[in-house]
């Protein structure tokens, strides 16, 4: 009985906190240029939201929300966004990661184009960092087993 009460408190609180943490991580990412924040910090907070899910509930519940295999794909997609933005600048004729040339593709002037370029690479960083932090945590929690540990818990 005591166990249930503990679970109820934690699970209710986490049900309130987790979406809030995710939105907050997006806020931290988006305001990285004018307040402490940015891609890495946002990614860590987003990963922390998922880790809270694992701690409050069960590994199985968390796995249903976020599959193991998608982590690798997210990591690769994040790096693609980063290096891809730089590559697009290369293809458009300027140096690598020279965002001012993006003004030819986006409907803004070169100065604002640098601003948008930075936002895009920060997005890539956030996705990758979230995927990797969660992957490290899941590796440690399942002691390298992943799917096998889930079957043991059954």
């Amino acid at each position: 009985m005591v166990k249930d009460i503990e679970d109820i408190v934690i699970s209710t609180l986490s049900r309130f906190l987790i979406p809030f943490m995710q939105v907050f991580s997006l806020y931290v990412f988006a305001h990285g240029h004018s307040s402490p924040g940015g891609g890495f910090q946002g990614g860590c907070i987003m990963a922390a939201a998922f880790i809270l899910l694992v701690i409050a509930y069960d590994l199985r519940v968390a796995k249903r929300r976020f599959r193991e295999k998608s982590l690798l794909i997210f990591c690769c997609v994040g790096v693609f966004i980063f290096v891809g933005t730089g590559f697009v600048c290369l293809l458009l004729g300027s140096n690598f990661l020279d965002y001012s040339i993006l003004s030819q593709v986006l409907p803004t002037d070169p100065v604002k184009a640098r601003y948008y370029g930075m936002a895009m690479i920060e997005l890539g960083v956030q996705i990758t960092v979230m995927a990797i932090m969660l992957s490290i945590f899941l590796d440690l929690v399942t002691r390298g087993g992943h799917e096998e540990t889930l079957e043991e818990d059954d």
Binding site: L72, C75, C76, V79, G84, G86
Partner: protein
């Protein structure tokens, strides 16, 4: 137009394609190797293009993001850079082709995409270290190369995980010391660009902060390149690693560390700082002499072929640093030529070791008997590599040793000359022992019978040569050793002569 972007392409292409491989590898496993080859061919083309451009136009500066240094990161290519870039790309392509069979034997199917991802990331890091002109960017790329090395070495068997853990601890200490040194330099100058530092630092040579920063940077790079007292991670890590991994990482990582040392000592700091102002080159010289003797003597004591080669690497790094330490043009020529030569020689020897393990599983030297009947071509390539390490003309090892000994003569440092000659002798004993066991068969019929009981009937030993995808890269590397030896004069006159700083 695209040739202007070569400095960026040579680093970005393997980076982006290395993260393609896990995604593609799930879908179709056969496509992993072609993607790696495609990335490395782009790198090779860029490296050759860069050397051409450097010879025509002089030093190339490339600004990332269009920002001028010291606000932005800059990539700089000069003769020294271009030579090392071509060497790395060339050997990397050959080892990739070589790795196909041994990887399929050693790893289960689902791990192969991960292997190639780490492989390509390691090469990205190495190429980036070579081309960058920003000392903090060098730290980042050094860590990229090191992480992929830690992970890929741990994929081996037996003691690989523990050896890799030791390498993690050591390598992190090294990188953190390097970061500390960079911090010291940044505090006093406020700049992180190598050329900008070269302008700002000479006024500050009297300050202790700069000296401490320099010492920390050299310590960090010394750990990464396995310089004598800091070498203890190397034998275990490279012995237990998978064969394709040793063949890739063993030639390249330590030599790129040696290149970084030359960069820091002669581009960031003036040559006069290490030679005249502080007795740094004499300290490095004594440590290098100790490294050569230690490496050669410990190699004599090993029974495992790969472990013996690891100690030979430690001795070879000693050669390069002795070339830096004698502090004249001849010595530095020998050191830079030895970087190129050693990449080829070690690639040759480690790939032979990997081929022998792939085909027969033999690691112990004393079981090499009758191998020249089983794998004649592999043994021939072993002979070429061994003779080059010993220093027999016209193979490449002779020319770099010649310049090193001449440099030691010019500096009137007779002890270094003696050390170099003794180590040549010990290398000769080392490799001729292996060649004798592999090639010469006992004469008396009684002995032949006794050995025939152990290793099979000598007349009945069939040819079980290594597969073609392993043989052809090894042939090309061996041919490279011969050609580089024959054309050493050309290489020195056209490229290395311009790579040495003018004030030396």
């Amino acid at each position: 137009m695209i040739s202007e972007q070569f400095p960026a392409l040579i680093v970005v292409t393997p980076l982006i394609l290395s993260l393609f491989i896990p995604v593609v590898g799930w879908w179709k496993r056969k496509l992993c190797l072609p993607i790696v080859l495609a990335a490395l061919s782009v790198c090779m083309i860029s490296a050759v293009g860069l050397l051409n451009m450097v010879q025509q136009h002089g030093v190339i500066h490339y600004r990332l993001g269009g920002w001028a240094p010291p606000w932005g990161i800059e990539y700089m290519v000069d003769h020294l850079n271009a030579l090392v870039l071509i060497t790395i790309s060339f050997v990397a392509i050959l080892i990739t082709i070589y790795s196909k069979d041994s990887v399929e034997q050693e790893f289960p199917e689902h791990k192969i995409p991960t292997f190639y991802t780490l492989f390509l990331l390691n090469i990205t890091g190495l190429l980036g270290i070579t081309i960058t002109a920003d000392i903090f960017n060098l730290y980042v790329l050094l860590e990229i190369a090191s992480f992929s090395a830690y992970a890929i070495i741990a994929m081996g068997d037996r003691g690989a995980a523990f050896a890799s853990f030791r390498y993690v601890i050591f390598g992190t200490i090294g990188a953190c010391f390097y970061l500390l040194g960079v911090g010291h330099l940044y505090i006093v100058t406020g700049s992180l660009n190598m050329l900008n530092l070269a302008e700002l630092l000479p006024n500050l040579y009297y300050s202790k902060v700069v000296l401490v920063g320099f010492a920390f940077i050299l310590l960090g790079i010394g750990i990464k390149m396995a310089f004598f007292p800091l070498h203890t991670w190397l034998p275990d890590a490279y012995t237990y690693a998978p064969s394709a991994v040793s063949a890739l990482i063993a030639p390249l990582m330590t030599k790129v560390g040696a290149y970084a040392m030359i960069r820091v000592m002669f581009t960031v700091f003036e040559p006069n700082f290490s030679i005249g102002l502080f007795p740094i080159t004499s300290i490095l010289g004594w440590l290098a002499a100790a490294a050569i003797l230690f490496g050669s003597i410990m190699a004599l004591a090993q029974k495992d072929f790969k472990r013996m080669l690891c100690f030979v690497i430690i001795a070879e790094i000693g050669y390069i640093v002795i070339g830096i330490a004698v502090a004249n043009r001849t010595g530095l020529t020998g050191a830079i030529l030895h970087i190129v030569n050693d990449v080829f020689m070690m690639a040759c020897l480690f790939s032979v070791a990997g081929a022998i393990i792939y085909k027969t599983g033999i690691r112990d030297i004393y079981q090499f008997r009758y191998l020249h009947r089983k794998m004649p071509f592999t043994m021939a390539i072993l002979v070429i590599g061994a003779l080059s390490v010993v220093g027999v003309p016209p193979l490449c090892g002779f020319f770099s040793k010649w310049y090193l000994i001449l440099g030691a003569f010019e500096a009137k440092n007779w002890i270094f000359v003696v050390v170099l000659l003794i180590s040549t002798l010990i290398n000769a004993i080392l490799f001729f022992r292996v060649i004798e066991i592999a090639y010469l068969e006992p004469r008396e019929p009684g002995h032949a019978h006794a050995h025939a009981h152990n290793t099979g009937n000598p007349e009945g030993i069939k040819r079980e040569e290594a597969p073609l995808s392993m043989l052809i890269p090894m042939f090309i590397i061996a041919a490279g050793i011969i050609l580089i030896g024959v054309f050493s004069g050309e290489i020195i006159a056209r490229v290395i002569k311009f790579a040495i700083p003018a004030t030396l």
